[in-house]
């Protein structure tokens, strides 16, 4: 008989509390070696705690690092005052200890050299490595101008190197956060409400009555405060509507799961807009007072009925109507969530526009239970000389393309690194800090060709990520638990700052990024830009200007400030000027129209998989961040490889079983370097497969995670670029299954 029931322990521990095949023999020597470490729990009073904010993901929760009397970091606990986490870190934050203890960490500077015709890394002193990087930076500046030096970065280290790069004379710094992640939603919401969404999202989930998720898998993306608020509304039975081809965790907790045919979300959104308008369910007073373009919108969606959408999305018209009415009933305490990683099909800014328009019709922007008006405190700038004038920046290379890109497009910086592409201005050298480009940027060939073409690459990281394999010089950064960094001053309901300070001395020969940037700056004659001996001086100077001090912040970790921009929400009928061309919420975007783009979103049909191929969908697991945590021992224990989710009907067709290892081949003939285990599950449609992003590392120095699972990024070779902002749409790739180990010819 066929089973309809799966039983999977996702904490990857085999059976119950039993071990993952480790020896149970007591080795006396091991015990002796560990004698200095207390083998059992240590009470909080016996430890010292130091404030930090987390660097395992961009949510940056504030917490306390607990250190025992032997100077061992024992645990990290959330800061109760912090609105990002409310005292509860997520598994990655709790497991952040594993970043510090990872024995695979980068330990010394490394310099590439050729020995007997073979390229190897040799250990180098900081002096030698820094001298080399600085001399290369000087060479590049002399030969091509400093602008041809680009920085790819993510997270806190980026702040220090951006400063260095600007002082040096280049504005060519990019992060995957824009074109590989959330750029389209900022464009779509900005065109509508005149405001970015930003991070953390100002979604007032805790007070909402209806949350609509378009492919957003909150709970699997562990954006902490947001997950907490979603759990709260699950607890009080608020309506959740989840649109996803896969039964995500949150979909399973939703009142409505709409298992949409992938690539058709925009049709569903437009039909919802149709229902709200033509059934008269929209918020009339709000639309009247705050919006412009309603009549044009009404005409635009006239024919976009639920029946029209049904043929495209496979979602039944009655369900489309019912869910639209649910939203209207809850309005204005309703959120059609903008999502976060939204670069899917190349028309993503327009899909985000449709989401923004829905929120406008429901009157949720600026309302309790909808979107609140966020506020951040501005941190005083530590004085430094003016940055030099630059001759050109990434924007000049675009030639009018992607006019709404307000941050550099990483893929464009890569393309400009390849002389054959003939860009007006060429990139000649890179610094890469805190981002693992080969497992982040789609179309690995583009990345590899670019890496081959540039004259010099320096990588700053804590781990031997795959990117380090391409470096000429590797600089080992200490982890966030061992360093000072800039203040966290992200927007929230109340403005606040959080501090990060070292809990222990840096392990091995690692150094903080602020120190590396300063050392390079001094070697480049830019010492005036780094006028301090220790970064704590900068922090103390800034904190004193903000009415506190380093000493106080060491005791409290996080400080809240009063709002200055006014209340969190609009009062009924309150006058309000939106930061758009018209000062109104633009249902008809004058900005898009001026640039020659559709002023109101239109549905475009996207390519579908051929027979025997399935759309590749990827996402997150709650215990991992991108590709950066898979070697972290604490988190590796929770999930040590990804699997490919396949619907049972499809699995039957291919005779695939759960646990079987297969290779994936995409529409362009690219075969995954490593095999991936099959997970046969009813949780996904038959036209799609799903895998968690961030596995399939090919750097052997990541001893735990090397070769475990497959890399989705490797299989994403068809990139659908958003003409408005350069986002790299990655959901237009299709894979088929290979059950036998592919030969060399298949890999080529």
């Amino acid at each position: 008989m066929k089973t309809r029931r799966e039983f999977i322990k996702i904490s990857a521990v085999g059976a119950g509390a039993a071990a993952i095949g480790l020896s149970t023999i007591n080795i006396a020597g091991l015990k002796l070696a560990n004698a200095a470490i207390d083998q059992t729990a240590v009470s909080d009073e016996e430890m010292t705690s130091f404030p930090t904010y987390c660097e395992v993901c961009f949510w940056k929760c504030a917490g306390w690092t607990y250190v025992d009397k032997h100077k061992n970091i024992r645990k990290i606990i959330g800061n109760k005052e912090d609105p990002h986490c409310n005292g509860r870190l997520c598994p990655r934050g709790t497991g952040g200890v594993g970043m510090y203890t990872d024995e695979d960490r980068l330990k010394t500077p490394l310099i590439r050299e050729t020995v007997n015709g073979e390229q190897v890394f040799r250990k180098a002193s900081w002096k030698e490595a820094l001298d080399l990087v600085a001399s290369k930076m000087k060479d590049v500046a002399d030969k091509y101008g400093p602008e041809s030096f680009a920085l790819f970065n993510h997270g806190a280290p980026g702040e220090h190197f951006k400063h260095l790069l600007h002082a040096y004379g280049s504005e060519n710094e990019g992060e995957p956060a824009w074109a590989q992640c959330r750029g389209p939603r900022e464009v779509g919401f900005s065109a509508t409400f005149g405001s970015w969404i930003g991070s953390p999202e100002p979604t007032d989930i805790r007070d909402t009555n209806c949350l609509v998720l378009i492919g957003s898998h909150i709970g699997e993306n562990m954006h902490n405060g947001q997950v907490q608020e979603v759990a709260d509304i699950i607890g009080r039975n608020a309506t959740i509507i989840t649109v996803d081809p896969r039964l995500s965790t949150v979909a399973s907790k939703s009142k409505y799961w709409l298992p949409i045919k992938p690539a058709t979300d925009l049709a569903l959104l437009l039909s919802w807009i149709h229902v709200l308008i033509y059934e008269g369910l929209f918020n009339k007073d709000y639309v009247e007072q705050y919006t412009m373009g309603f009549e044009q919108l009404k005409e635009h969606v006239k024919d976009m009925t639920p029946e029209w959408a049904y043929g495209i999305t496979t979602i039944e018209p009655s369900i489309i109507r019912k869910t639209a009415r649910e939203m209207a009933n809850a309005a204005p305490a309703v959120i059609v969530h903008p999502g976060r990683h939204v670069v899917w099909y190349g028309d993503d800014s327009q899909r985000e526009r449709a989401i923004a328009i829905l929120n406008a019709l429901l009157g949720s922007w600026g309302k309790r239970g909808g979107f609140y008006f966020k506020e951040a405190i501005s941190v005083p700038k530590y004085p430094h000389p003016q940055y030099p004038h630059t001759e050109w920046s990434w924007k000049d290379n675009l030639d009018g393309k992607y006019p709404l890109s307000s941050m550099a497009i990483t893929t464009e910086l890569l393309a400009a690194s390849i002389p054959e592409f003939g860009y007006k201005h060429q990139i000649k050298a890179w610094m890469v800090a805190g981002t693992n480009l080969p497992l982040t940027i789609p179309n690995k060939e583009l990345f590899k060709t670019a890496a081959e073409a540039v004259e010099f690459i320096v990588v700053v990281d804590t781990m031997p990520m795959d990117i380090t394999g391409y470096a000429d010089v590797v600089l080992p950064e200490c982890t966030y638990l061992e360093r000072y960094d800039t203040l966290r001053a992200a927007p929230h309901r109340e403005p606040n700052i959080a501090i990060r300070m070292p809990a222990v001395e840096p392990k091995y020969e690692t150094k903080p990024s602020w120190w590396i940037a300063k050392q390079l700056g001094e070697r480049l004659g830019l010492g005036d830009f780094f006028d301090y001996d220790d970064f704590s001086e900068v922090l103390d100077w800034q904190l004193k200007k903000m009415g506190t001090s380093l000493d106080e912040m060491k005791k409290i970790g996080i400080k809240m400030f009063n709002r200055k921009s006014g209340p969190l929400y609009l009062a009924d009928g309150e006058e309000y000027h939106f930061n758009t061309n018209s000062g109104k919420i633009e249902l008809y975007s004058t900005e898009f129209a001026e640039l020659g783009f559709d002023p109101m979103p239109k549905f475009t049909k996207h390519p579908e998989p051929e027979d025997g191929f399935y759309r590749l969908i990827y996402g997150r697991a709650p215990m991992h961040t991108f590709s950066r945590t898979s070697n972290n021992h604490n988190l590796f224990d929770l999930m040590n490889e990804n699997s490919v989710w396949i619907n049972p009907k499809v699995a039957e067709l291919w005779d695939l079983k759960t646990g079987q290892k297969i290779w994936l081949q995409n529409q362009d003939g690219i075969v995954s370097t490593f095999p991936i285990k099959v997970r046969v599950t009813e949780r996904i449609r038959w036209d799609s497969v799903y895998m968690v992003h961030g596995f399939g590392h090919d750097n052997k120095k990541l001893t735990r995670t090397f070769g475990r699972g497959a890399s989705d990024t490797q299989l994403i070779t068809n990139v659908m670029v958003d003409p408005m902002m350069g986002g790299t749409g990655m959901r237009g790739n299709f894979v088929t299954f290979i059950t036998e180990k592919p030969g060399k010819e298949a890999e080529a």
Partner: protein
């Protein structure tokens, strides 16, 4: 007094934070764990349900592990917490075999280890590490004989189940459904 835990399967997202928080709090060696997540999928597309459970030792009132322990290392302390005295444990593994919940493992140092309900924290008036860390607040702990404890309030007006009731162990983990 009897300690118990209620786990709200409706709220749990299976993130495994409870697992890693227990590891760092109790210095559980890598590769082992005292608590874990079970994901249970039922139904057929598109009508599918998922149950997520954070599981650990059930601190049974009628604990087979205590009864079968030849040295008395496994024992019950105040509040019904089942403990293992490491020095008295000979690592024979009889308790591991007897546990219907698979809650025990052999520690590499030669003794059997498992969840203690963070007894060292309870003594200080703190909650267990897993309860305190859970981002969804799906774990509720306390004295089930006190009607106003977190666990009693969580169980009030909710349907719940225990695991393997047929084993007759009187387990003290209650799964809210």
């Amino acid at each position: 007094m009897r300690y118990a835990m209620a786990i709200d399967t409706k709220k749990c997202v299976g993130c495994s934070d409870c697992v890693v928080a227990c590891q760092t709090e109790n210095n559980v060696p890598h590769g082992y764990c005292r608590d874990w997540i079970v994901e249970n999928v039922s139904g057929a597309y598109p009508i599918v349900e998922i149950e997520l459970r954070s599981e650990r030792c059930n601190h049974c009132e009628n604990a087979p592990c205590v009864r079968c322990c030849p040295t008395g290392a496994s024992h019950t302390v105040e509040g019904g917490i089942v403990m293992v005295t490491h020095d008295e444990c000979i690592g024979c593994g009889a308790c591991i075999q007897s546990c219907p919940y698979d809650a025990r493992y052999s520690h590499p140092d030669g003794y059997v280890d498992k969840c203690t309900f963070c007894q060292h924290r309870l003594e200080k008036g703190q909650n267990t590490a897993c309860v305190d860390v859970c981002p969804t607040k799906c774990l509720h702990f306390g004295d089930i004989e006190d009607p106003y404890s977190d666990v009693s309030l969580a169980l009030k007006n909710r349907s719940w189940k225990v695991l393997a009731p047929e084993a007759g162990t009187k387990p003290q983990l209650y799964f809210l459904t």
